[in-house]
């Protein structure tokens, strides 16, 4: 990993940098697996190696791929970095050793999660029970963060669609698709399978790695695949912007409403015990609902982000195209 990181520092070609960043994401995900953090690995693979690499690529096609050799401030930067790094290493000196079982973090709070969560919540995947019940509010915050990002991207990049563009873009796309025959067929076979798998991940989150967030990302990935191969305008016909915005909002609302209903039933916010007559059943219901909320929002926002980037890109291409025409 150090090698990759240093290679990224040295590399001038942005494209290569992005590819290496993708490798870095995969590497860290494998590391997470080795460290038993399966849920995290799941997410990191989908996000770090998948979505963010794709987004960066789209941007690079718009901005050009070479980094200019500019005057850096390597000395001052190096100084800052050394000081910070030195401080961190200094800080690690008194830390409990890696993997030792008597470190404070393994003895203060987490034993309760490990030992009692089965009785209190009844979900085998401890990560899910902590995520969705003990620290449900953090997860709510997380959903809101991703919602904010979606709105932010919309606010910055959304373009009004103009009719006359469509034809031209469609023709560009058609010429491109001639070459993509094989992938298109393979993708057509794969996409239903991906949807199915996303649903599986959504519902299986209680028992194994997975959950709303991961399912949302996978679902969005399938749509993105479709968009890449069949063109943005086709994909937009299937899922239009207003609709997807609505879904994102509904996800957040669904999550919040679970909390509000529990308020109304006399418990605290996000107290699932009061949702059903039986505490365990209530927990199950609560977790199921909020996972759906997370899934909806994440999938919707990822699609929004991708659509807007791709839309900008087409606009950009179109402008360039017409400029070329004018100049020639």
């Amino acid at each position: 990993m150090v090698v990759v990181a240093i290679a990224i520092i040295r590399m001038k070609d942005l494209f290569a940098v992005v590819m290496l960043a993708g490798i870095y994401g995969l590497l860290s995900a494998s590391f997470f697996v080795a460290m038993d953090a399966v849920d995290v690995a799941f997410t990191e693979a989908a996000v770090g190696a998948g979505i963010s690499t794709l987004l960066m690529l789209v941007v690079i096609t718009m901005t050009g791929r070479d980094e200019k050799a500019t005057r850096h401030k390597p000395l001052s930067a190096l100084l800052i970095v050394t000081v910070t790094g030195g401080l961190l290493i200094y800080g690690t000196l008194d830390m409990p050793y890696f993997g030792s079982a008597d470190a404070p973090i393994h003895n203060h709070i987490s034993p309760r999660y490990i030992n009692d969560s089965m009785q209190e919540i009844g979900v085998p995947n401890i990560v899910t029970s902590v995520l969705a019940s003990y620290r449900a509010f953090d997860t709510f915050g997380e959903v809101v963060v991703i919602f904010t990002a979606g709105i932010g991207v919309l606010a910055m990049l959304s373009v009004g669609r103009r009719k006359e563009d469509d034809e031209e873009i469609a023709s560009i796309n058609d010429s491109m698709h001639e070459q993509h025959l094989v992938i298109r067929i393979v993708a057509k076979m794969l996409i239903p399978f991906i949807f199915l798998f996303a649903l599986y991940v959504q519902f299986h989150g209680d028992f194994g790695p997975g959950g709303g967030f991961q399912a949302g990302v996978i679902f969005a990935a399938a749509i993105i695949l479709y968009t890449m191969l069949f063109g943005l305008s086709t994909a937009r016909k299937v899922i239009n912007q207003t609709f997807i915005r609505l879904i994102a909002a509904i996800g957040v609302l669904l999550y919040g409403c679970v909390g509000i209903v529990s308020l109304a039933n006399g418990g605290n916010f996000f107290d699932y015990n009061v949702l059903a007559s039986d505490a365990i059943a209530g927990q199950h219901l609560g977790i199921l609902l909020i996972e759906w909320g997370v899934g909806c929002t994440v999938a919707a926002v990822m699609i929004i982000i991708f659509f807007n980037f791709a839309g900008r890109r087409e606009l950009y291409q179109h402008n360039k195209h017409s400029q070329n025409k004018e100049s020639s």
Partner: protein, 126 residues
């Protein structure tokens, strides 16, 4: 001591290379890549804390007694989401900057801004 902390030290080196990219490089996209690396390294740091020798993934099963700590996993799940949100927003800013300034190098942008400020100052004098 060496073996016990080596893992953390490597993570520190990774974090710092990420931070170095952010501070030292002028290309906006590369800065964002650096930011991603910085954040990912912090995630690795958290996850390393959670590991217990001989532990297993925190999914309850009958024949396993030692589990790794699930709490850092939860925190990092949240943090990853935050990370991708930041990256997406940052990239959309880069796109807009490219459209407005025509370039994505820190220095050129600074240059253009300074020019403009000088112009407005000159107008004021006149």
């Amino acid at each position: 001591m060496l073996m016990g902390l080596l893992n953390y030290w490597i993570v520190v080196v990774l974090m710092m290379s990420g931070l170095y990219i952010v501070i030292a490089h002028g290309n906006l996209i590369k800065k964002l890549v650096g930011l991603t690396i910085f954040q990912t390294s912090v995630f690795i740091f958290y996850i390393s804390m959670a590991k217990i020798e001989g532990g297993s993934a925190p999914i309850l099963a009958d024949d396993i007694t030692v589990y790794s700590n699930p709490l850092p996993h939860v925190l990092i799940l949240t943090a990853i989401v935050v990370g991708i949100a930041t990256t997406a927003l940052g990239l959309s800013l880069v796109v807009r900057i490219k459209e407005a300034y025509g370039c994505i190098e820190e220095e050129e942008i600074q240059q253009q801004d300074n020019d403009q400020q000088a112009e407005s100052k000159a107008e004021e004098v006149a």
